[in-house]
Symmetry: C2
Subunit: 429 residues, 2 copies
């Protein structure tokens, strides 16, 4: 049985969804790397009873380690340290050395403001120097110190701002109580396979077959997730089950060779970025409105291969900026394969590029017709020196879904065209 942990995220702004919690996922990743089993993340507002109830719940679940985030500020609604002290049955004691440290930080921070009453500041922040007796103090990265309270479970109390929490977690990890709490951890391996173009039920079928064919299948902890049309299959196992995983991978390859695009967890965006090295790409977007360009340029260093792109919403912009013949739009409509191809060709010329991707479609909610309902999107990828792929798809969902899904489809078509330039067999449907 591996060491188990729970995370308590406090803060009314997080509970009510006005702020997205980044600490739970980040800590989850760290625990996974360590081989500590994360059982629960719980989120509550700044209410004493709710915080206490969550600590009690996790202790009842037998976790070895609880990590809390948030609630360490100077204002009255910040009360995590006090609640943890009560929960652990320890007195709060004033650490005068810590108090001086915090005061020095605050003095420095406030130096640029005038009219600061330093005595008031000191009084307001004395609270932050109150720590549970016998706990280890984690020096502030911002103004709030954290603590490690030893016991079963050991409780690590960290501040809410991610840029403070993250370095302080690394400090906490070095302390004896935390090392002791996670001593029972198991080192797992984790592998990720990604597919595109397979419905989730198809994968479910394959996994049921694998379960029957593979000895020791239950030694694999498999989770699957459908996102933006991509299927992610994450498998965790102890190192001596590596051959079982190899068998699973063989089954997946056998059944879904064409749909698997990643066996090492790499993302489509990074794969496309790698394939674009030494090339020069331009985008020509109508319904995706800049999302493809934004995704390509999200990668650091993308300026080496992204020439630019055109967002051509209006028909005149399609003609003026990308030299799409107005007669072509007149004949086939703006949402058509000939127009998508002409947009891609125009982008190649206009940006002096060797790779282009174009989209034109109906994202909705308005604009759909019986022949071309909302969700109809035409894609064209053109390589100056190689294949041209043009497709029309009908994508589900609302405006935002259609735009996002179209962007993902475009990335996969790009990948296929770029790989197909080397191995034309990959271009067949």
């Amino acid at each position: 049985m591996s060491a188990r942990a729970g995370i308590v995220v406090t803060g009314t702004e997080v509970l009510t969804g006005r702020v997205t919690d980044r600490n739970g996922p980040w800590l989850a990743d760290r625990l996974l790397e360590l081989g500590v089993e994360l059982a629960h993340i719980t989120i509550c507002g700044d209410r004493p009873d709710d915080i206490t109830a969550q600590l009690r719940f996790l202790a009842d679940q037998g976790v070895d380690l609880i990590i809390t985030s948030g609630g360490l500020g100077p204002t009255a609604d910040d009360m995590t340290v006090e609640m943890v002290a009560k929960f652990c049955g320890r007195e709060l004691v004033l650490d005068t050395e810590l108090e001086e440290k915090i005061f020095a930080i605050l003095k420095r921070l406030r130096a640029r403001f005038t009219n600061v009453d330093l005595d008031a500041v000191r009084a307001a922040n004395r609270k932050q120097a109150l720590v549970p007796a016998g706990s280890e103090i984690l020096d502030p990265v911002g103004t709030a110190p954290g603590v490690v309270v030893p016991g079963k479970p050991t409780v690590v109390v960290l501040p809410g701002p991610p840029r403070e929490l993250q370095p302080m977690w690394h400090t906490a990890l070095q302390t004896a109580p935390v090392q002791e709490a996670i001593a029972g951890r198991t080192i797992y391996r984790q592998e990720t396979v990604r597919m595109f173009g397979l419905p989730e039920s198809g994968l479910a079928e394959t996994l049921r077959e694998a379960e029957q064919r593979i000895d020791g299948f239950d030694r694999l902890e498999i989770t699957t997730c459908l996102r933006r049309g991509e299927l992610e299959i994450v498998t965790r196992y102890e190192p001596d089950a590596a051959d079982v995983y190899a068998e699973l991978l063989a089954v997946l390859r056998e059944r879904h060779a064409r749909q698997i695009f990643s066996e090492d967890g790499s993302l489509i965006d990074d794969q496309v970025a790698a394939l674009l090295a030494g090339r020069r790409i331009a985008t020509a977007e109508s319904c995706t409105g800049g999302l493809i360009a934004a995704r390509l340029t999200d990668i650091p260093g993308s300026s080496a291969y992204v020439a630019g792109g055109a967002v051509v919403y209006a028909n005149e912009a399609k003609s003026e900026v990308l030299e799409v013949d107005p007669a072509l739009i007149e004949e086939h409509g703006a949402v058509s394969e000939p127009v998508a191809e002409a947009m891609a060709q125009g982008a190649l010329r206009r940006f002096d590029a060797d790779t282009a991707v174009a989209t034109t479609g109906i994202a909705g909610p308005g604009g759909g017709t019986k022949e071309k309902p909302v969700g109809t999107v035409c894609f064209s990828v053109q390589l100056a020196d190689g294949p041209c792929l043009t497709r029309t798809l009908l994508l589900p969902g609302n405006r935002s879904d259609v735009r996002e899904r179209s962007t993902t489809v475009a990335m996969h078509l790009l990948r296929r065209a770029l790989l197909g330039a080397k191995d034309p067999a990959l271009l067949e449907d």
Copy 2:
């Protein structure tokens, strides 16, 4: 005492942070609107014991309503309905009518795939037609049905994909068991004020002052949140404290008239959309790489006023597509106010637009210099018939922060220029 609720988010992909949960925050908002007190959000993986423990915990906390999200798919790791049935002490029964409904949906979805073994599909999805005896069925929006299980607490079981969960929640809300569970809710009013360009500490000071000046201040539940450079102030109060809120609003206006851009919670994107009615806008983006165009076109109906945009990453693209004089780039550098202005002017001409916004900057991680460090971004907004606003800012954070923050700054500059066209006093710094 108001009706209380808890949310259970299931899914190993969410617990481990591979997928960001969007359902907890969305449901939190719906509960808030209803006047139902949200006590806890708990997140666990696809493990039977952990799901059961969380349901038990919430029931022990005395909540009237539990909402679960996720775990309704056809694969073996999806087990929420089974766990909820056990927890509520109800048998799972096969609903044959529901089974036919699901099968019909799947047949339609699979029609575009070849070689589908429909019997296998039917077998795989029978599981999804098993529901707790005596529960109310929520018809699938995707392929997974939800259920409402009456009791104390009443449990609403919803699928994980937000576009399925959201309409199904509205259906669940109409059912008698849910209405009964939330009968004790309190009706609150909630008002949102948004500001731009004020540090959080400045707002904190104003709120401390308001606390001393306003009688009954403690009847307002105020939460503040800083996001993408915008400050959001959400105030919740019972209807008879409306005059107290009016006093708070007066204080905010008195101190921060220039920073308040929304008193009704409206978002900058919607405000800019409204101001663009009857106009024709084009974008010229370098470091934001399409994000401004994507944000403008995210609004339904934006095709009425968005002509298009150019993403000009390469210097040659700036010159070729937007007619920026290469000598200007040579003289001032690509990241400079003259180049930003020339980009905006080029966009006006190229897209035959009357409104243009341009960005050029260094998003990092590479490319910074001592004079122009990472985070330096030049903005220019030009109206053909009115003011031109050009600014240079140094924005904090990593590549993605700088790009996102730049997009928000551009939206606020647009708003100011468009308002300034009517009232030039607004253009002063």
